[in-house]
């Protein structure tokens, strides 16, 4: 007996799914203050409650060599999951790397708020995170580029003959 395949099939990639995926990916990378401060300032009375206790656990990371090889198990990573619900009924989910339960809860609250007020959450919470991540990525690229070595091969004797 196998479980219903439909339950495990990934969501079709609609614009809504892509937008939520982007928001949740940004929230997963957020620092605690990047969530705590805007939520405390803009939504001090969100009154979100936990639907499931916040839990830390392990997930198996899978990789593909070169991005297209056969999948293999890379190793396990610690993640923390939070699920909250706002009084207005929106549910927020967050999985973040590590064991920081308060940050996971804040990310879940931000996700729930995003489902209610996407525009506000975008400008107040997500845009600063996206900006920081882009700046960090650019810095890493610049540092890597500075160490680049260009090799020149001189014509070798035996090939020239």
């Amino acid at each position: 007996m196998s479980a219903d395949d439909a339950a495990f099939r990934p969501q079709p990639e609609t614009p809504e799914v892509a937008a939520r995926r982007r928001a949740m990916a940004l929230l997963a990378r957020a620092r605690r203050e990047e969530l705590a401060e805007p939520i405390a300032k803009r939504w001090p009375d969100h009154r979100a409650r936990d639907l499931k206790p916040i839990e830390s656990g392990l997930v198996m990371l899978r990789g593909r060599i070169g991005g297209d090889g056969a999948p293999f198990n890379l190793g396990e990573a610690t993640v923390t999951r939070a699920v909250v619900e706002l009084p207005t009924g929106e549910r927020g989910f967050a999985h973040i790397l590590g064991r920081d339960a308060p940050t996971a809860r804040l990310a879940a609250i931000a996700d729930a708020l995003w489902r209610r007020e996407a525009g506000d959450v975008e400008t107040v919470i997500l845009a600063p995170i996206a900006e920081r991540l882009a700046a960090e990525a650019a810095k890493t690229r610049a540092e890597t580029a500075a160490t680049r070595v260009d090799f020149f091969t001189l014509v070798r004797g035996e090939d020239a003959a």
């Binding site: 007996m1 219903d4 439909a6 339950a7 619900e85 549910r91």
Partner: protein, 195 residues
């Protein structure tokens, strides 16, 4: 507002598992289970405890259509179990004795090679104190055991004998009423039922 399940999933589901195992290993013994839960009505607390403890993403769950949508949502959200398309595809099933009756043949009995691939049916009754008294014998029972179930179909004993005769194939029952639970595994024989 969505209902909350176990406050401490790890330890509370272990405690519930221990009690379900006690009920399964000593058929006819009534155990308390799920006292702390507040599932959406009409789902019984012991039924919620059993399914939240036993069902997971690998065990398709079939819920009788007499249960409202909230019950299915609650169990799916907290256990992660997918919904089985039909009762004979289910690893676990939830039925209400008063609304759905109990037809054992609808569920899967497993195969001779894999008798474990059968349905465990969680049967919700209104009472485990009043109603038809069943006298049991079999593994896990010293001499005889006895318990009562309200609103059990009149021909249940005939169907249970057929289930018993198909051993090692067959379904297992977990009968619940509110926060009490009693198990009737396929190895148990009903020697007499009296109203």
């Amino acid at each position: 507002m969505s209902a909350i399940a176990f406050a401490d999933p790890t330890f509370e589901s272990q405690a519930a598992f221990r009690r379900i195992m006690r009920a399964m290993s000593a058929p006819g013994t009534i155990v308390d289970c799920g006292e702390a839960l507040a599932p959406p009505p009409p789902l019984a607390r012991a039924a919620a405890a059993a399914l939240l403890t036993l069902a997971d993403f690998e065990t398709p769950l079939w819920i009788a259509p007499s249960f409202p949508v909230e019950v299915g949502d609650y169990l799916a959200f907290h256990s992660g179990a997918p919904r089985a398309a039909a009762p004979d595809k289910a690893a676990f099933a939830l039925v209400d004795l008063a609304a759905d009756g109990l037809d054992l043949a609808r569920f899967t009995w497993g195969t001779a090679e894999y008798p474990d691939r059968s349905t465990t049916i969680v049967v919700q009754a209104s009472s485990l104190a009043a109603g038809r008294r069943l006298r049991l014998s079999g593994p896990g029972i010293k001499d005889e055991a006895e318990f009562a179930v309200s609103l059990l179909p009149a021909d249940f004993q005939v169907h249970w004998s057929a289930n018993r005769a198909a051993f090692p194939r067959g379904v297992d029952l977990i009968l619940v009423a509110d926060a009490r639970l009693v198990a009737l595994p396929r190895s148990t024989a009903i020697i007499e039922g009296a109203d």
